[in-house]
Amino acid sequence: MTSNYTVMTVTLLVWLVIFIYLIRLEGKVKKLEEEK
């Protein structure tokens, strides 16, 4: 069960990193669109 919590924590961290990257990328795209 402990290993399950370890995998869960790692997966959550990976998801957090992907999500933050997605939000930042969206922000950059929006900025570039507004520049046009």
Binding site: M8, L12, F19, L22, V29
Partner: protein, 219 residues
């Protein structure tokens, strides 16, 4: 903004619940938890190929290069999720069958699918001229999609396979999922679909920006 919040919460829910609830398949054990990620990845890959085919038809009907961008972005995402499904399936195979690759019908059919869509990108990169590339790629994408239902749904069910096939519906066609499993699996399908559409919209917006930049530099 609201979609991002829903996506973040839903995926978080799926990840937490997938690991704190009992494994969905007691016979297979802990490895069966991959079901909550592997099946939605395969599902989203099929969605990607469907969207690519629809955008390709739209391109042939209307001749707008934006539709070609849509087809390419959807095929790229479909390919990435197909690759993820292959890798997660391969990890499952190592745990349950003691080998990463067994040439099981399910593994072979997904490999064919990857090769077919790999050829789509090779075709695109081999052609010059936006219109010519878009037209040929659209025709290829439509023909490529014809293989998807056979390779994903028909071949693995017709040929004898080690791949579990009663996770969602049993051999009699009855819904075989427990309440807890369904409570995680269906939100996982929604979360992965939402993630696909967020990435798809973003990919199309980037393609439009790139195209505008090229057009401006040519003026």
């Amino acid at each position: 903004m609201i979609w991002n919040v829903i996506l973040f919460v839903l995926m978080g829910w799926v990840i937490v619940m997938a690991f704190i609830t009992p494994a969905p398949q007691q016979v297979i054990g802990e490895a069966s938890r991959i079901f909550y990620f592997h099946v939605p990845q395969a599902w989203v890959a099929v969605v990607g190929f469907v969207v690519s085919m629809v955008a390709s038809i739209n391109y042939l009907r209307r001749g707008r290069l934006t539709d070609d961008d849509r087809a390419r972005v959807a095929a790229e995402l479909g390919f990435v999720f197909c690759l993820l499904a292959t890798v997660s399936g391969s990890i499952f195979a190592k745990v349950t069958w003691n080998s990463y690759w067994n040439w099981d019908p399910r593994e072979t059919s997904i490999l064919f699918l990857l090769l077919i869509y790999g050829a789509y990108f090779a075709l695109r990169s081999a052609l010059t001229g936006d219109e010519k590339r878009a037209r040929l790629a659209a025709v290829y994408s439509i023909f490529a999609f014809i293989t998807v239902p056979f390779l994903v749904f028909v071949v693995p069910r017709v040929l004898p396979s080690l791949h579990p096939s009663d996770s969602v519906v049993d051999s009699a066609g009855q819904f075989s999922m427990s309440g807890t499993t369904a409570m995680i699996f269906f939100p996982a399908l929604v979360a992965f679909s939402l993630l696909f559409f967020r990435l798809y919209i973003l990919g199309v917006r980037i393609s439009i920006l790139k195209r505008r930049r090229i057009e401006e530099s040519q003026l």
